[in-house]
């Protein structure tokens, strides 16, 4: 694989096909009490369309922070973040929200479905926020739920579903509005190995099939194996690891 994809210092931006996400010397610090901790230290990376990237690292190494930066809910202290060539770090709150709404789908360790919306409504939410008309919405919700094998649970509330089922709903929701970028933070961390593998397989299949880009945080080597690249966060730096 291309080693220039990951550089810690002084990136020379190569004349490559346009990257989906580009990080340029991104730093993130947190202040706690009097002391300041550098979580990300001049991280530079690019993620090309259609790739699956696995992000690994010790607990507290900054994986979730990196995802938060990419989806714009946190801003870097230094460096630039480009999505489809547009600066994300200089956008205002509202524009970042709109970018997130249109361009990103999320899957979390704790599912984070909205407990007061039914399964179908949870999946419909990003469609509605993106202004998809009702009929089209119904059609897509049905299709997504069928794709994750939960067509028969459309009207159930999330707290009646098992963990694996909830995570499949989260996958359907994340893909519902067909965002170019999918972010998943330990999507299988809260599931038993077998269920986790099933959800992962489903996710991989859908991402590959629809040509989406996925950045995935994981602790599990089996999951990492599915990725095109595996990046490890060590002491705030990003390092490429042995890839599949």
């Amino acid at each position: 694989m291309d080693n220039r994809q990951i550089q810690n210092t002084d990136p020379q931006i190569p004349a490559h096909p346009p990257a989906l996400v580009q990080l340029e010397a991104v730093s993130k610090r947190f202040r706690e009490g009097g002391t300041e901790r550098v979580v990300l230290d001049r991280v530079t990376a690019r993620i090309n369309p259609g790739e699956i990237v696995a992000l690994v690292g010790r607990s507290g190494s900054g994986k979730s922070t990196l995802l938060n930066l990419i989806c714009g809910i946190e801003a870097p202290d230094a460096g630039r973040i480009l999505v489809e060539g547009r600066r994300l770090d200089t956008l205002n709150e509202r524009s970042r929200t709109l970018y997130r709404r249109r361009g990103v789908g999320f899957i979390y360790q704790f599912f984070n479905l909205i407990p007061t919306l039914t399964v179908a409504e949870n999946v419909a939410l990003p469609l509605e926020l993106n202004g998809v008309p009702a009929r089209e919405r119904r059609r897509r919700v049905a299709a997504r739920l069928a794709a994750v094998g939960l067509a028969d649970r459309a009207d159930a509330f999330p707290d009646r579903l098992s963990g694996g089922e909830q995570q499949r709903v989260a996958v359907a929701r994340a893909l519902a509005h067909e965002p170019p970028l999918l972010l998943a933070d330990e999507p299988t961390g809260n599931l038993d190995a077998e269920t986790g593998a099933q959800v992962m397989a489903l996710l991989q299949r859908l991402v590959r099939h629809q040509g989406r880009t996925l950045v995935l945080v994981t602790h599990s080597p089996e999951v990492a194996v599915m990725a095109d690249h595996v990046w490890e966060l060590v002491d705030g730096r990003l390092q490429a690891r042995g890839e599949a």
Binding site: R94, T97, F106, N112, I114, A124, L125
Partner: protein, 838 residues
């Protein structure tokens, strides 16, 4: 666009209906109180206006005299001089079936140009009214209400004497303004009121200046020409202070309501942080979240306001009785035949409810919009932030209170700074409560651990750990309780001040007075020879006479009290300003000087050394003020002068009351029986009262005046109770998951229930204790600013031990109830149920 997010929030309410129910109830009660007071106030004012409109009719001017009224001859002279549009009036108060009415004696043939609905018609009934003595007419609704039919004879009481009169006509009108009147021929009225040859006023229609100038020329001294409208307005002004005071009480209730709404909405937002964070994560903008919460509040405010309007109308119907009774007791007779339920009242109620809800929602909506998407990922943060803010609340609260204190001393007579000061003080104090609660929880954690073991320690810790919620709950609770404490102290202070004043004023042993209500033209008098006869009784040591009459000055009505003291320096006055009592009375007896009452001094902004112009029977005269005395009896203000001065300037020889001290060794009983023996020989009844009785009667009137305030206080307690219940229940139910974890880790249902109840009680205790100083502070502002400025009465603040006790009890009871329910639920519920809820 926001269909699903709204649905998510609404369904969340359906899962936690208590919060919503309490919020709606809070708005509803607040609105209900304001609307009820508004209805009662405006019904009374409107009734007065209507009756004045009806009775004034097309009158433009009135001729009025001094306390003795006008000579009938003046009217004849006017007619002779060509003032055709003139009508004589004799009026006074009478009672029918226990209800007070105004009896109007009119000249039917002169009426036509003036009034449509009175006795202007010319049919047989009018003839009977003129020719038959003891005949009256009533408006149809009044006759129906009293159950009187035409030609029926019934009793009508003047003073204490019943007179049989015949109802010869029923005026078929639905004009509500006539409801409080009994109409009679002028001769009948003069008979009933024993005012032969006298008139109270002459109504006129004057249109051109020349006519007016010519009229002024021919007026004898002491007779004044006044614009009818100005006089009506001045009378209406009388009761303004009372209405303003009620309004202040109702606004206080609404303020408490507003805090509760704020509290409920904030809770609703805090509880849904995770949900809101999730929505933000999915791409909902801050603006839409803000809009969603505001829309939710608007809906809640609307529903609450509508309910409040309905309840307000019902409560208002009850209040209007209390209000009219007080206005009649203290100011002027008013009969309310219909509720003022115009669109204005309804709109005001709706706007107020909605407005207050929306303002209260701004903070929570802002907070909601500020929820970062990260909240969906992690739960800490908030408590951390709140704990960092906590120390800053102390100086912030201090500054707000300082500003409030500075505003209290704002000069001038306006009430607005007073209200605003009150608001700032409450707000400032509110800031201090969460840090206090936090401190208390820390300090108590050890002792409670010793007393109750782990549940005890957890109860105290839980308060500190969830200070964002528990602080808010305690604050809402404290404010609600403090309002009831504040109003309670205010009423008690008022009552004791009046009681104290009465005790100091009622220095004589016995009082003899002419029965009847003074106020309109007719002022009751005692038989001429009575003072001398009473003075000659062996049991009587000293006797002074008093004459109290209303005086219509061009700048509004006031009361005149002419005293002929038995001794050089009489007792029974509380001087607020002036030289020594001996010196004051020396000057009163010798010079043209007067004493004025506190409200008068306040309203006119005058004091000792200033002078006051009064209309006398010799024309307008100016008198120097030599003292200011305390007086709670005349809200419009009272001027006290020596009888010799009164006789010099007013032609009103009558005496209305005798104050007498018994000779040493004479018991009250024997004094009373001697007086009663004397009284039965009189042609007219007189009232003989012991000081103690007057004291009791005055206090009864006082209590009636404050009956409305008591009702309002009770309603405020209701609002407070609901607020407490809602805040604490929200607090506990929100912890369901946390509690489930405790259950799962091995706490028994009893331990958990106990912990929840203990925690609630702790908060109740903290809030109840914090409420007492705030309540005292509130009462100070109410007394020194609101009451002082609206009535002109100063009072001493008391601290009745029962009132703070009640407040504390209220807080504890409510917190016990509020803690018991979630405690019971938590103890019963299977932990798995709550652990599932993501």
């Amino acid at each position: 666009m926001t269909g699903l997010p709204a649905r998510a929030l609404v369904r969340d309410h359906r899962r936690h209906p208590w919060n919503l129910v309490f919020a709606v109830l809070g708005v509803a009660l607040g609105v209900a109180i304001v609307v009820a007071v508004e209805i009662a106030n405006s019904s009374a004012s409107r009734a007065f206006e209507l009756s004045m409109e009806t009775i004034t009719g097309r009158t433009t001017h009135q001729l009025i005299g001094g306390p003795g009224g006008l000579d009938e001859g003046l009217y004849t002279r006017l007619r002779r001089e060509g003032f055709r549009d003139s009508a004589p009036v004799v009026e006074g108060h009478v009672r029918i079936q226990g209800e007070t009415f105004t009896l109007l004696g009119l000249e039917p043939f002169a009426e036509r140009p003036f009034r449509d609905h009175a006795v202007g018609g010319r049919d047989g009934r009018i003839n009977r009214l003129i020719t038959e003595p003891g005949t009256v007419m009533l408006a149809a609704p009044t006759a129906a209400r009293l159950g009187l039919a035409e030609d029926e004879t019934f009793f009508l009481t003047v003073g204490t004497t019943p007179h049989a009169v015949t109802l010869v006509g029923i005026v078929s009108t639905d004009e509500p303004g006539l409801g409080g009147y009994v109409l009679a021929d002028i001769a009948t009225a003069q008979d009933l009121f024993r005012r032969h040859g006298r008139l109270d006023r002459i109504d006129l229609i004057l249109t051109d200046e020349r006519q007016m100038a010519r009229l002024r020329e021919m007026l004898p001294p002491g007779v004044r020409l006044e614009a009818a409208e100005a006089r009506t307005r001045a009378t209406a002004e009388l009761s303004r202070a009372f209405h303003v005071n009620l309004l202040a009480m109702s606004l206080l209730a609404l303020l408490v309501g507003a805090f509760l709404i704020y509290n409920t909405l904030t809770f609703a937002v805090l509880r849904r942080r995770h949900l809101l964070g999730n929505l933000r994560m999915q791409g909902m903008t801050r603006a839409s979240v803000f809009g969603l919460i505001i829309a939710e509040a608007a809906l809640l405010g609307l529903v609450g306001s509508l309910l409040g309007l309905a309840a307000g109308v019902v409560i208002g119907q009850g209040l209007v009785q209390l209000v009219t009774r007080t206005v009649t007791d203290l100011y002027f007779v008013v009969t309310v035949t219909q509720l003022a339920l115009g669109p204005a009242v309804i709109l005001k109620g709706l706007l107020l409810g909605l407005g207050v809800t929306l303002i209260a929602a701004l903070g929570p909506a802002w907070e909601a919009a500020g929820v970062s998407p990260r909240e969906a990922l992690r739960r800490s943060g908030l408590e951390h932030r709140v704990r960092r803010v906590l120390p800053w609340l102390v100086p912030a609260g201090g500054l707000l209170m300082l500003a409030g204190f500075m505003l209290v001393d704002w000069p001038g007579q306006g009430l607005l700074p007073g209200f605003f000061a009150l608001f700032l003080l409450i707000l400032g104090y509110a800031c201090l409560i969460p840090p206090l609660v936090w401190l208390m929880a820390r300090l108590l954690s050890g002792p409670l651990g010793l007393g109750f073991g782990v549940p005890g320690r957890l109860a105290a810790r839980g308060i500190g750990a969830g200070i964002s919620r528990s602080g808010l709950a305690a604050t809402a609770l404290a404010i609600a309780v403090s309002a009831t404490v504040g109003v309670g102290i205010m009423v008690d202070s008022f009552r004791s001040s009046v009681g104290l004043w009465l005790g100091q004023t009622l220095q004589s042993d016995l009082y003899v007075s002419a029965p009847g209500r003074s106020g309109l033209g007719v002022n009751p008098v005692l038989p001429d020879d009575l003072p001398a006869r009473v003075a000659s009784l062996p049991s009587v040591a000293e006797l002074s006479t008093a004459r109290r009459v209303p005086l219509y000055t061009p700048r509004g009505p006031l009361e005149l009290m002419a005293i002929d003291p038995s001794v050089q320096t009489p007792d029974g006055y509380v001087y607020l300003e002036g030289a020594s009592p001996a010196r004051i009375w020396q000057r009163l007896a010798a010079e043209e000087v007067i004493l004025i009452s506190e409200p008068l001094a306040w309203r006119k902004g005058i004091g000792v050394g200033d002078s006051l112009a009064l209309p006398t029977d010799r024309g307008e005269r100016t008198f120097e003020v030599v003292g200011v005395v305390q007086d709670y009896s005349a809200a419009q203000g009272m001027v006290t002068l020596h009888r010799t001065l009164y006789d010099r300037y007013w032609d009103d020889p009558g005496v209305a009351a005798l104050r007498l001290s018994l000779a040493p060794g004479v018991s009250l009983e024997s004094g009373l029986s001697q007086l009663r023996a004397l009284a039965v020989t009189l042609d007219e009844p007189v009232l003989i009262t012991a000081a103690g009785e007057i004291h009791a009667q005055s206090m009864a009137i006082f209590d009636r005046t404050f009956a409305v305030t008591h009702v309002l206080r009770l309603l405020t307690v209701g609002v407070a109770f609901i607020g407490i219940l809602s805040a604490l229940m929200a607090l506990q139910l929100e912890r369901a998951r946390e509690h489930a974890v405790l259950r799962a880790t091995g706490m028994t249902p009893w331990q958990l229930g106990g912990m929840v109840t203990l925690q609630s009680l702790l908060l109740g205790l903290a809030a109840g204790l914090a409420a007492i100083p705030l309540g005292i502070l509130m009462s100070d502002v109410l007394i020194q600013v609101i009451n002082q400025r609206s009535f002109g009465w100063s009072m001493i603040r008391t601290l009745p031990p029962a009132v703070p006790g009640e407040g504390l009890l209220l807080a504890l009871t409510a917190s016990l109830l509020a803690g018991a329910y979630p405690g019971y639920r938590m103890a019963r519920v299977r932990p798995a149920e709550h652990l599932r809820e993501a």
